[in-house]
């Protein structure tokens, strides 16, 4: 049997396929088809199946990562939705957080809500903060709201009632009545989608879910139909933002869980590779054409956040306070994303200083050297001028790079205004981009209390391995790992991703008043639900495991830290240890703890994991002698004082056990690995490059 994975990105759709018996991996890359992503999906799937000589019936399952959910929101391609909330709070979405998206722009616009005000309706009911009923639900008011929504011909409805995270009974009743009154219209309840307090964040999450539900549902249906036409009738699994997969039917009900599907795949790929090789603590570094993304994996688990907005931008120096975008409060793999990619534009500002980004030349027109009409020098152009990228072997020679064009653009637009020579300017562009990425690595590690020197850097994406060695050097990370086919690494990671369900219940209790019995019962109930869901998707019970966590804070704080629990029943002993663990975690994260202060539990979380069988990595043949470069060319390294005559290796000719000394460049179809002087590369038994200081 084989497994098939499809990862749709902005420019390319990547396919990977693994043979479960032999462990052999195939890859394919086709252009994405933004007008109908399922077209690119199928052409990638069909190409890889035919190249591998496989039949549709051989496919055990298909895993898919996609930006379709995010794009629907950003492009406004959303369903005609309705919003139902508690009487008095019709304008929750209109008011949002009452902030402006930019501090000094007097011409700012507030992002319009996904549901306009004429489709925002209220029902008569009210709960208090403990779930007590202050006003009983008036069924008649729900039927009236339904009538209005029917008149508006809505395709989807979001319901978010105050304090429904404590007691969902009113929301569930509203859902029942709406289902009766609006047959065929999907209803999303906030108590299902994101049962957490803070009404605007919960409402926004629920509205996003409702607004993209029809679009995502149709998309998944069309893919399943096309797959079936191609003879693939096995299950379609979709990557969630939190880093597990779920069935396409679950995805169609809860599409908000897949908004960051694509970026999550890369981090999971790094975690899975680390698991196979015995690395538990990893910083993942994914650099493409427009941005670089870094993620943190600690003890095998990617760090996850719930502070996220779709379509947001953050202001520099604002501490990541997302002032714009639609907030999402479901778990998302924690990524620091910065506008430094191969296409980031280098420019000289009005103060006479060299800047890189945040603007990107993107795929169109792209860097100057792509010869597609780009005139502004980019990071990729600088790498070409420095000899790091091979002008005749970029993307395997598909694009012949214009070195002279890149050089004169840097000369005119950067070097001359700064009074530098063109090589100094090109090197400066790379150094500035690298420094921004080092800051991002610091932000995700040091700022959260981790020391990057304790982590392994895993670099991928087309541009990642070009820059990674310099980043490892500047952050003093001892080990850098470049996987095989780094350009399609995210898609490869999909092949070994576990099924996952995240569930949580708000349980606000002071720790000294915590009844371990109650916590254990809550955890057990969440586990039973999670296991039943995965079993329905065909996951055998003996492959299901649980991760238990509590969200905790000091009484009076309003952000929580998530503390993992031990396996085994939650009892008094665990409850007592929990407090020490919380103080320690607070100290690690924020640099202080307050052992004399009371702490409280805020919510109980269970992640149910259905473990997908891992396939052993395919071993590469061992080298039988010296590894010879395919050619030599001048490559610039500032630490060597300029250009050096540098050996260039063909990655596909490398065998296990080979050792290369920097300076060196290793080229393959989808990426280029730059090895700085003073570093050595060992090829591991599976073909991964392990780079360390010599």
């Amino acid at each position: 049997m084989i497994r098939l994975a499809i990862d749709i990105g902005g420019t390319f759709t990547d396919a990977t396929l693994i043979d479960e018996e032999t462990g052999e991996v195939s890859i394919a890359k086709v252009l994405s088809t933004p007008f109908d992503p399922s077209v690119g999906f199928m052409s990638a799937a069909e190409r890889i199946l035919s190249e591998a000589g496989a039949r549709g019936a051989d496919v055990r399952f298909v895993v898919h990562a996609t930006t379709v959910a995010t794009n629907a929101i950003i492009e406004g391609n959303v369903a005609r939705s309705g919003f139902v909330t508690t009487d008095g709070f019709r304008d929750l979405l209109e008011i949002g957080r009452q902030t402006r998206p930019s501090l000094y722009d007097t011409r700012f616009e507030k992002l319009p809500p996904l549901v306009p005000r004429d489709r925002a309706l209220t029902v008569v009911e009210r709960l208090g903060p403990a779930g007590e009923v202050l006003t009983p639900l008036d069924d008649g008011s729900v039927r009236e709201a339904a009538a209005t929504l029917r008149a508006h011909d809505v395709e989807s409805v979001a319901v978010c009632l105050l304090h429904a995270y404590v007691d969902p009974a009113h929301e569930q009743r509203v859902g029942e009545i709406l289902a009766e009154e609006l047959p065929g219209v999907p209803i999303s309840l906030s108590s299902d989608v994101a049962p957490e307090f803070r009404e605007y964040l919960r409402a926004s999450t629920t509205v996003i879910n409702a607004a993209i539900r029809p679009v995502v549902g149709r998309y998944l249906e069309s893919i399943e139909r096309r797959l079936a036409d191609a003879g693939v009738t096995s299950e379609l699994l979709v990557m969630q933002s939190s880093g597990g997969v779920y069935s396409s039917s679950a995805a169609a009900r809860n599409p908000v869980l897949m908004v960051e599907s694509g970026p999550a795949a890369g981090v999971i790929a790094a975690a899975n590779l680390g698991e196979a090789l015995g690395y538990r603590d990893i910083l993942s570094f994914d650099m493409g054409g427009t941005t670089a993304k870094v993620g943190l994996i600690q003890d095998g688990a990617p760090s996850v956040t719930k502070d996220y907005s779709v379509g947001s931008h953050t202001s520099a120096g604002g501490g990541g306070q997302a002032l714009s975008g639609h907030p999402v409060r479901t778990p998302v793999i924690d990524l620091v994303e910065i506008g430094a990619g191969g296409g980031s534009v280098a420019w000289v500002d009005s103060g006479g200083m060299l800047r890189v980004g945040p603007r990107s030349a993107g795929a169109e027109p792209g860097p100057v050297c792509y010869r597609r009409g780009g005139t502004e020098p980019t990071v990729t152009d600088a790498n070409v001028v420095l000899g790091r990228l091979n002008p005749t072997y970029f993307l395997g020679g598909e694009i012949g790079l214009d070195v002279e064009g890149a050089r004169s653009a840097i000369e005119e637009r950067c070097a001359q205004p700064l009074g530098l020579d063109v090589i100094e300017a090109a090197n400066g562009i790379v150094e500035i981009a690298n420094a921004a990425m080092v800051n991002a690595l610091h932000l995700i590690s040091v700022q959260r209390g981790y020391d990057p020197r304790d982590f392994v850097l895993v670099a991928f994406g087309g541009a990642g391995p070009v820059h990674a060695n310099a980043l490892a050097r500047d952050t003093e990370m001892p080990t850098l790992l470049v996987p095989t086919s780094p350009g399609v690494f995210s898609a490869t990671g999909l092949l070994g991703t576990d099924l996952k369900r995240d569930a949580s219940v708000t349980l606000l209790r002071r720790l000294d008043e915590l009844d371990p019995r109650e916590v254990e019962d809550t955890l057990a109930a969440l586990e039973a639900t999670g296991a039943a869901e995965l079993e329905r998707e065909g996951m055998p019970r003996d492959r299901v495991a649980f991760v238990r966590r509590l969200d905790m804070r000091y009484v009076g704080q309003s952000y929580e830290l998530t503390i993992p629990l031990d396996d085994g029943p939650f009892d008094r002993v665990q409850a007592d240890e929990l407090l020490d663990r919380f103080h320690a975690e607070h100290d690690r994260t924020y640099g202080f703890s307050a052992p004399s202060e009371p702490a409280e539990c805020v919510s109980v979380r269970v992640t149910t994991v259905g473990r997908i069988e891992r396939i052993a990595l395919l071993e590469l043949g061992r080298t039988s002698g010296e590894t010879l470069p395919k050619e030599r060319r001048p490559v610039h390294f500032a630490e060597a004082g300029g250009f050096v005559d540098c050996p260039i290796y063909d990655r596909y000719a490398l065998r296990a056990g080979a050792r290369l000394d920097g300076p060196a460049v290793v080229e393959e179809l989808d990426s280029t690995v730059v090895v700085h002087p003073g570093y050595t590369v060992d090829v591991d038994p599976y073909g991964n490059l392990i780079m360390r200081r010599a």
Binding site: G88, D91, E94, I95, R97, Q98, T99, R100, L103, Y104, D105, T106, R107, E109, K110, R117, D118, G128, P129, L134, L162, H163, F197, R198, E199, Y200, L201, A316, G317, G318, G319, G320, Q321, L323, D349, S350, G351, M353, L354, R355, P417, G419, L420, G428, E431, I432, A435, N439, L443, V446, Q447, V555, G556, Q557, S558, H586, Y590, G591, F592, E597
Partner: protein, 573 residues
């Protein structure tokens, strides 16, 4: 272009590291603070100064702190004596005179030592929900600064890395919400420690010389860019007047006046003509007025321009001593931000004729505080709540003023209803837009917002706001936005509260904040009928108002503009 000792590559790398360091401070403070005001509403800012106490980099969440920290931090250090501050020490202050702000804003400053020498200072300022004084949340119509809470001259709150317990306890003893304040102060200490560590690491990595050279060049670089921006602004002198509507005691509005001169060398803000200071919550300190001017100027230049001493060099603020734009001891300062934000509005009004495409009509331009508190009968703890509310933004040349947003230097988030109800003895009955509160115009002003707080026990409640007499002004033919109202509902009867007052609430009382709409831009009769239709269908503007003010007839059932009736209303041929 002048070149200095530092190469442009190293410069850019280190400059970004400075920004990253302040950003990390911001994150650290926001994530670990206790109070909703700091964590959720983000009412704080962080900054980094060179050894000569010139601002180098600032990490803002609240632009009002622009300018105020650059006044307060250098003075605090000079007063204490730089030589008396050692590694691991932290200075705390909130002293308003001669150059601070209101008492709720507590600033912590830490020196950054490397090899025994000071390379700079990091500081953060946070708005504490309570600092003692005459009413919960430390806001109210006070007569003197002594009624407003604990005054902290520059003293050490941390010495050699350890909290100075005597100072900490003395301070907390003055404060109602001790638990939150203690947590927030610890978070402020931790944020500075983060900043110190980052800068020390940067010096270790890049070398002291490169860091000092970058700091110096950064100021020159910023000044060069700021001057290039200045050259693009219209030269001339521009004047406007405005007012703070009430002072909490008299019927006399507080007159404000701003004369802005954009010249070859910089921009001068002359505040002569503002009323004398009062024994009422309407007095802005020099630091607050400076901050208003800095904010207004920052809005007119490239948003990418760094904010540091190089930018401030372009700015000159003349505010006569003893006026509401530069008050002297012992005048109360709690209402200073109300006056400060209105000064921005007056400055914009002065400049709008010269920059009609850039500036909005009158905006909310009040901080608009609600504060309440009381002793919990069960735990005996004193809880205090503070929130500020958005309102209508002014219409602009190309677009409507957004509804229900913060304006000018203020960008605090609202307090989530569910978080409020869980943490405080209050119920929020309503959170809504105020329909028909728009200032009519070709581009209408934004709507105000309404938030109703209901109490089931006696509670001390303070309103510190404005805009009850005059709505935000309309521009170029636009009309003013609706005025604000602050209403006490007792036994079903509504009574308007003075916008600067403290009331003792009874069980069952409701206080309803209804903030002002933004001013309109351009004549309302020129508004696109399709936009009027959209507003009517969404219930933001009534059909009657559409007809009477915008002169557009809407057929609500057909969800369409009645073209013929509209033509008749608008007197078209």
């Amino acid at each position: 272009m002048s070149r200095t000792s530092i190469d442009p590559i190293t410069f850019e790398v280190i400059r970004n590291a400075f920004v990253a360091a302040t950003e990390e401070m911001v994150l650290s403070l926001r994530r670990s603070a206790y109070s909703t005001n700091i964590k959720t509403r983000a009412d704080f800012s962080c900054a980094f100064f060179d050894a000569d106490l010139r601002a180098v980099a600032q990490g803002f969440t609240q632009p009002v702190h622009l300018g105020s920290m650059v006044e307060q931090v250098p003075r605090a250090i000079r007063d204490y004596g730089p030589g008396n501050i050692g590694p691991g020490d932290v200075i705390v202050t909130n002293e308003p005179y001669p150059s601070g702000v209101h008492l709720n804003d507590i600033t912590l400053v830490s020196p950054v030592h490397t090899d025994g020498e000071v390379v700079g200072y990091v500081a953060n300022l946070a708005h504490h929900v309570d600092v003692g004084g005459g009413a919960p949340a430390s806001i109210g119509a006070f007569r003197e600064v002594f009624q407003e809470g604990v005054i902290i001259p520059p003293v050490k709150i941390v010495e050699g890395g350890a909290i100075v317990d005597d100072v900490f306890r003395l301070l907390l003893a003055q404060i109602r919400s001790k638990h939150e304040t203690a947590g927030d102060l610890r978070a402020q200490v931790a944020a500075n420690a983060t900043g110190v560590r980052r800068l020390q690491a940067l010096v270790a990595r890049r070398g002291r010389e490169a860091i000092l050279a970058t700091m110096a060049e950064l100021l020159g670089y910023t000044e060069r860019r700021a001057r290039a921006e200045l050259a693009a602004l219209p030269r001339g002198t521009f004047e406007a007047e405005g007012q703070v509507d009430t002072d909490g005691y008299t019927d006399q509005p507080v007159r404000l006046r701003a004369k802005v001169t954009i010249g070859a060398d910089g921009v001068t803000f002359d505040m002569a003509g503002c009323d004398p200071q009062r024994r009422a919550p309407v007095n802005s300190t020099y630091a607050q007025t400076f901050s208003a001017c800095a904010y207004a100027l920052k809005c007119l230049v490239d948003p990418d321009l760094p904010v540091n001493d190089g930018f401030y060099r372009l700015l000159r603020v003349d505010a006569p001593l003893g006026t509401v734009a530069n008050c002297t001891w012992p005048a109360p300062v709690v209402g200073g931000w109300e006056t400060q934000t209105r000064l921005v509005d007056v400055i914009f009004r002065a400049l709008l004729p010269a920059l009609p495409d850039r500036l909005p009509a009158g905006t909310k331009a009040m901080m608009c505080h609600a504060g309440f508190g009381g002793v919990d009968p069960v735990t005996g703890a004193y809880t205090c709540f503070l929130e500020t509310f958005g309102g209508g933004y002014g219409g602009r040349a190309a677009s409507d003023g957004p509804d229900a947003v913060q304006a000018h230097g203020q960008n605090t988030e609202n307090a989530p209803v569910e978080e409020t109800e869980r943490g405080y003895p209050v119920r929020v009955d309503r959170l809504a837009l105020v329909e028909d509160s728009d200032g009519p115009g070709r581009h209408r002003g934004g709507l105000g917002l309404r938030k109703d707080f209901a109490f089931d026990r006696p509670t001390t409640f303070t309103v510190l706001a404005d805009r009850t007499k005059e709505g935000p002004w309309g521009a170029l033919g636009g009309l003013p936005g609706a005025r604000a109202r602050f209403v006490l509902v007792r036994g079903g009867v509504e009574r308007d509260l003075d916008p600067k007052s403290t009331v003792d609430l009874e069980a069952g009382d409701v206080v309803s904040f209804r903030t002002c709409g933004g001013g309109g831009y351009g004549p309302p009769g020129e508004r696109d009928p399709e936009r009027v239709l959209r507003d009517v269908l969404e219930g933001k503007v009534s059909a009657e108002r559409a007809r009477d003010v915008y002169r557009v007839a809407v057929d609500v059932d057909a969800r369409a503009v009645d073209e013929r009736a509209t033509a008749a209303l608008r007197g078209a041929p």
